[in-house]
């Protein structure tokens, strides 16, 4: 067993793939990945993908921006140089807070949006210069590919997996041997 077999089962419809995945998972097959031109709604729970935690990260980044804005403006306007504007000097943070609301909001959004976008690029491994890994160029057009690995499904033989895939309405089946 030096080499590992990867199956790329190609479908021409997202619902057929979803249905096929449902049947395969019910039989105990592990679907490694799915490549599709657009998000297939309802597929994630079937193939056992957990919900992304990017939302939580965005919230934390937003809080960072909020804190930074408040601390920064407090230092600049109240502590370091209490500017006297129209005879109304800035001595009290609480009384001046209202004027800081717009920028506090903007910085919260700025931090949440950009830090989340950067995190998204990093965890997705979509960074300029990266090489795409979709098995077939048609998966960004109108084909949907399900990836199965023999190593993830050790209780089935190569033949059994192939037979099961054949029953799910595929249009093409590709096998690859990788080390």
């Amino acid at each position: 067993m030096g080499s590992n077999v990867v199956f790329y089962a190609m479908y021409n419809d997202d619902d057929v793939l979803k249905d096929g995945a449902k049947k395969l998972v019910a039989k105990g097959v592990k679907v490694t990945d799915v490549f599709s031109p657009f998000p297939i709604h309802g597929l994630d729970p079937i193939i056992g993908l957990k919900e992304t935690r990017l939302g939580i990260m965005a919230f934390i980044y937003g809080l960072t921006g909020l804190a930074l804005a408040l601390i920064g403006m407090r230092y600049i306007m109240i502590t370091d140089w209490p500017m006297n504007i129209g005879g109304k000097p800035n001595f009290s943070f609480l009384e001046n807070m209202l004027a800081f609301v717009p920028i506090t909001f903007e910085l919260t959004v700025l931090f949440a949006a950009h830090a989340m976008a950067i995190t998204y690029f990093l965890v997705n491994k979509t960074i300029p210069g990266m090489v795409a890994e979709n098995p077939d160029p048609r998966t960004t057009d109108d084909r949907f590919v399900m990836e199965l690995r023999l190593s993830d499904n050790s209780k089935f033989s190569e033949k059994e997996l192939e037979d099961m895939l054949m029953e799910t309405g595929i249009v093409e089946l590709d096998q690859k041997h990788i080390k």
């Binding site: 249905d19 193939i47 600049i76 960004t140």
Partner: protein, 490 residues
């Protein structure tokens, strides 16, 4: 999965398959540009270059080259700034607010509307920058530690809020737009035959593979960015209105400004979207994706925001009388009957009267009429900003200082130049970028495409009914699949 009622008109006309969607959107990018594109590009570029020349002359000589004087210290510059920012608002509204409301018709127009937003905000940002006079010290607006006795910018000033608001808005819109573009660039990359194109789109697509996990993250990020951009879009124009509303100038000192500006921004933005979209759908043969229904939806937005703007104008008038402040009252009487009466009535006709015509279904579904009204609204909204800024300033408390504003050729050159530059950017966008969120459109093909609506779906392997039953059976319930079916009313 969300299913749309059959009585609603399909959002994608013709029995399109996934591949046809790709073909329709990628064709114009892969083929040769038509001659008209080159002609339009050349015209836009010439005007744009002239504008840049005027800007360079202004920077070299000074703000005195504008028609400003000591009474009218803000005129076309800030008028143009507010006009462009306002135009920018439609793109974010379409892509963010309509995403939160799950309005699927947005998918056909969000990409190009957002491109329009970004380019419009570029143009808007230019005006405050060049208005500084000494653009090389523009970085002084940033709170940077410095040697001038630690001189910080004033965080109580709405002008500084504006700096933060506009830059946040521009950069967040850019990121939102680009994240949506990545999968579509991947589609073009995988289709590209020429090695150079493959390389460039490969770079632009950041190595997108379309894995299930990537898509799941993509949807989450889009949703959160929409959630962040929604309050952002409202905050930006509110803050722009604070530039005026927090002053003590009669005519500016009104609390109605923020909502009124936001409504006006959406109003003018949609008018610009209509102007661009009506031409683009024709030039790129996208009539199946952006059809009369989309135009009608946008016209309804124009009509409702136009009505809000109309109410705001009338409220302003009423309050200026009701407040009993004679300076306030004079500011408004002067707008309507003073030397700039024509600007006021141009604004009233274009912004209050013309959108009301959209109540007639015949008119709001007529493409020629829509195009005409869109242009009228664009002009009207420019006049609105001029009325608010120029007409308010030209007669202040001291009659000996009253004056008029006459634009110089530099004023005109810069304004027209930004329109040229805007179209240069937009034409380049339509030439090299997917003008339609093609992969997003594919997701609504089954629920809102004509095949589904006509009931003769050919793409799905099993019918919608079967799909629905399967979905119902899947739902968790104590009673099992049969119990689920019993409780289902559809």
């Amino acid at each position: 999965m969300h299913k749309e009622a059959t009585i609603r008109e399909p959002l994608v006309l013709g029995h399109k398959t996934f591949h046809e969607v790709t073909e329709d959107v990628c064709k114009p990018i892969e083929g040769k540009a038509p001659k008209t594109w080159y002609i339009l590009f050349a015209i836009a570029a010439i005007i744009g270059v002239y504008g840049v020349g005027c800007i360079l002359y202004l920077l070299g000589t000074g703000i005195g080259t504008w028609g400003l004087n000591k009474t009218i210290n803000w005129a076309w510059d800030i008028t143009n700034f507010v006009w462009w920012v306002g135009i920018g608002h439609a793109g974010t509204l379409i892509s963010a607010v309509l995403l939160l409301f799950r309005q699927k018709w947005r998918m056909a127009i969000n990409r190009s509307a957002e491109a329009m937003t970004i380019f419009a905000v570029f143009m808007a940002g230019l005006f405050p920058l060049i208005h500084m006079g000494r653009i090389w010290v523009a970085y002084w607006v940033m709170p940077l530690p410095n040697q001038f006795g630690s001189l910080w910018p004033n965080f109580n000033s709405p002008l500084l809020w504006d700096v933060f608001a506009i830059s946040t808005y521009l950069s967040v819109s850019l990121v939102f737009w680009y994240i949506g573009l990545i999968p579509d660039f991947a589609t073009i990359r995988d289709r590209a035959k020429k090695p150079v194109a493959k390389k460039i789109y490969g770079m632009l697509s950041f190595g997108w593979s379309g894995r299930a996990k990537q898509w799941s993250r993509f949807e989450m990020v889009s949703l959160i960015l929409a959630g962040l951009a929604t309050p952002l879009v409202f905050s930006v124009h509110s803050i722009v209105s604070f530039d005026f509303a927090t002053s003590v100038i009669p005519g500016w000192h009104t609390t109605i400004f923020p909502p009124y500006f936001v409504a006006g921004a959406v109003f003018s933005g949609f008018a610009m979207v209509q102007t661009l979209m009506l031409v683009m759908r024709k030039a790129y043969n996208l009539e199946a994706y952006i059809h009369t229904k989309h135009i009608e939806y946008m016209n309804i937005v124009i009509m409702s925001t136009g009505s809000i703007v109309g109410i705001a104008y009338i409220t302003e008038l009423f309050i200026s009388w009701y407040s009993g402040v004679e300076y306030e009252a004079y500011a408004f009487i002067n707008r309507a009957t003073g030397p700039y009466w024509w600007a006021y009535w141009a604004m009233m006709t274009c912004n209050v009267v013309s959108p009301q015509l959209m109540w007639f279904k015949k008119l709001r579904t007529s493409l020629t009429f829509t195009f005409l009204i869109a242009i009228v609204v664009n002009i009207g909204m420019w006049f609105e900003r001029f009325v608010i800024i120029g007409t308010t300033l030209h007669r202040d408390y001291l009659p000996s200082s009253w004056s008029m504003f006459y634009p110089t050729h530099i004023d005109i050159g810069i304004f027209v130049g930004t329109i040229g530059l805007f179209f240069v950017f937009f034409l380049l966008f339509t030439r090299y970028f997917p003008v339609l969120a093609l992969n997003e459109v594919k997701t609504i093909l089954k629920s809102s495409g004509q095949s589904y609506k006509d009931g003769d779906a050919k793409t799905p392997a099993f019918s919608i009914e079967e799909q629905h039953l399967a979905d119902v059976k899947m739902k968790p319930s104590q009673g099992g699949a049969d119990e689920n079916l019993k409780n289902d009313n559809n």
